[in-house]
Point group: C2
Chain length 330, copies 2
């Protein structure tokens, strides 16, 4: 390659990488010129094989079409790119077997790190350690000292949302929740019920539904939740995907939000700002999560770190607040 243009291959490597050894500025210039004139493009594959680092990360999400994961992927891609890393993306489609398959492929491709929004109830620790790459769990926690985990305090977020609904004075505050086997869904359920109990009320099982984190899930759940004789007058909705489905259902049923049904949702993606009414939501600090993930991998800490971010309640109108008179019902 560019070797024909001056010196040894080692020197070329040194200047291209600001290598482990110094190079005289004269030789360096000769090499640079040669690189320029030959149109040399380093082969990242060969470099990865020789150096052991592929400068590539693998990320696996359960559903890239879910706006929260889209935004998270976007943020991770950007943070990775700032660190000079490329992103291999996989969608497990909520399937643990597919997730494992993707993870194996990524490890086989010698990724420098694995970012996992896992759909497994628990990760196989043996697998992880044998993988030999740093893995950071996103949106999940884990009890394993070799694995990093970054989460948001789902319980606190759900609780804050529900408390806000309580302050508004709604009497029948329901939950449109996610699949209970998902840790995030479970924590949000607990946050909802704890807020209710703290207010001296007993959570009403007739007012809760557990459905997938999809628009369709939210739509179906809303139809059944709102069809009863004693429907909720407020709902904590565990994700924005579901909230969009809920809005479709209320429109179909001719219910007004927030007058007939108030709601607060979770995630803080852009759609919450564009819905009508604009959604009060518990926003996740997506950029911070992505930045932490990349930092954990590039600084390769030995011990698994647990990072928990605090979500932020963003007040808009779906809860019953108005711009002029926050906290007033209707």
């Amino acid at each position: 390659v560019a070797r024909a243009a001056g010196t040894s291959t080692a020197v070329v490597s040194y200047v291209l990488n600001d290598g482990p050894r110094p190079v005289s500025s004269e030789t360096r210039q000769k090499v640079l010129d040669a690189v320029e004139s030959t149109g040399y493009r380093p082969d990242a594959i060969a470099r990865a094989l020789a150096s052991g680092a592929s400068r590539t990360l693998g990320m696996i999400v359960p559903d890239i079409a879910n706006a929260f994961f889209t935004d998270l992927t976007d943020a991770v891609e950007e943070a990775a790119s700032d660190a000079g890393l490329l992103l291999l993306l996989g969608d497990s489609d909520e399937d643990p077997a597919r997730e494992r398959e993707l993870a194996e492929s990524f490890v086989g491709r010698r990724v420098d790190g694995l970012l996992l929004v896992s759909v497994r109830p628990e990760l196989d620790g043996r697998w992880v350690s044998s993988a030999g790459v740093p893995v950071v769990l996103l949106d999940r926690t884990i009890h394993d000292t070799r694995i990093h985990a970054i989460t948001v305090d789902n319980h606190a977020g759900a609780r804050a949302a529900t408390e806000h609904l309580v302050e508004h004075g709604y009497s029948r505050i329901g939950l449109l929740g996610g699949p209970v086997d998902k840790p995030t869904a479970h924590a949000r359920l607990d946050g909802w019920s704890d807020a209710l109990r703290a207010a001296g009320r007993e959570p009403d099982p007739d007012l809760v539904a557990h459905v997938p984190f999809t628009r369709h899930g939210g739509y179906e759940a809303s139809l059944s939740l709102l069809d009863g004789t004693e429907p909720p007058d407020a709902l904590f909705v565990a994700s924005e995907q579901q909230a969009v489905g809920l809005l479709r259902a209320t429109a179909k049923l001719g219910l007004r939000v927030p007058e007939d049904l108030a709601l607060i949702t979770f995630d803080g993606t852009e759609i919450s700002e564009y819905c009508t009414p604009q959604l009060t939501t518990v926003a996740q600090p997506i950029a911070a999560i992505a930045a932490d993930a990349i930092a954990l991998i590039t600084h390769h800490e030995n011990h698994g770190k647990q990072i928990t971010h605090r979500p932020e309640l963003i007040i808009r109108h779906s809860c019953g607040c108005t711009p002029s008179a926050p906290h007033e019902k209707g």
Copy 2:
């Protein structure tokens, strides 16, 4: 590695790849057992270096947060995965320089193909041919026999949408368009104006806006479009991102859709079904586009192929149709 467990490295390679040479079933079994017991994981990097094929594709989109590109990425990832290929994802963020940078990185990583939703006005043919990988342009056309291009007939789609609005009897049919320097935006603009002219009307420049394909863009454009003394009574909206922004604007202005303002949009992503009212839209055949892209790459045609898909007008309510009485205004 697994070589310590029986025979030569060549044979191992042959059985793992159903290699170029046959292996006796006895030896094959021995190898398989050894692989099993040693927990051997093939190194895809070394394989890529030796074989010249990385089994990886690179995809670059201008904005992964745009639902159309999210869905396209999702579909491509799935099709790639079915073909045993992994996907490297990059977001150019509408920046040509960034796009080039990503493309260089991907080529350096020896991808087996490059899927490009390019933001460059025209691709540098010299670069493409020197890249030495098949590239398929998505959502763009090009006059270059070495490059594949898959598009949708944007002109026909826009025209069909506008004609439908004409049939409804709207008198002031405007356009909420995309950036005119984008080929897709331009074709949709032409489709809109051609439909109008075919109906014997002159497109009214006061009724058109050109803004980015974002929710915010749609929102801002709507505010100015609808604020005049003679606002449009119908709008062809060039993307669903913009349509979502428009809906926010009409809600803010107290306008009813479709009674005060009818609309038809473009893309056919899920959100169009969940908006209120449900959006009549020109749907792009995303799965077919993705399948074609992967097929073009895996079958490595020598000559650049141009594939144009026909979009489909999906009638819902935002145009003024009702389930019971299609084509009736209001």
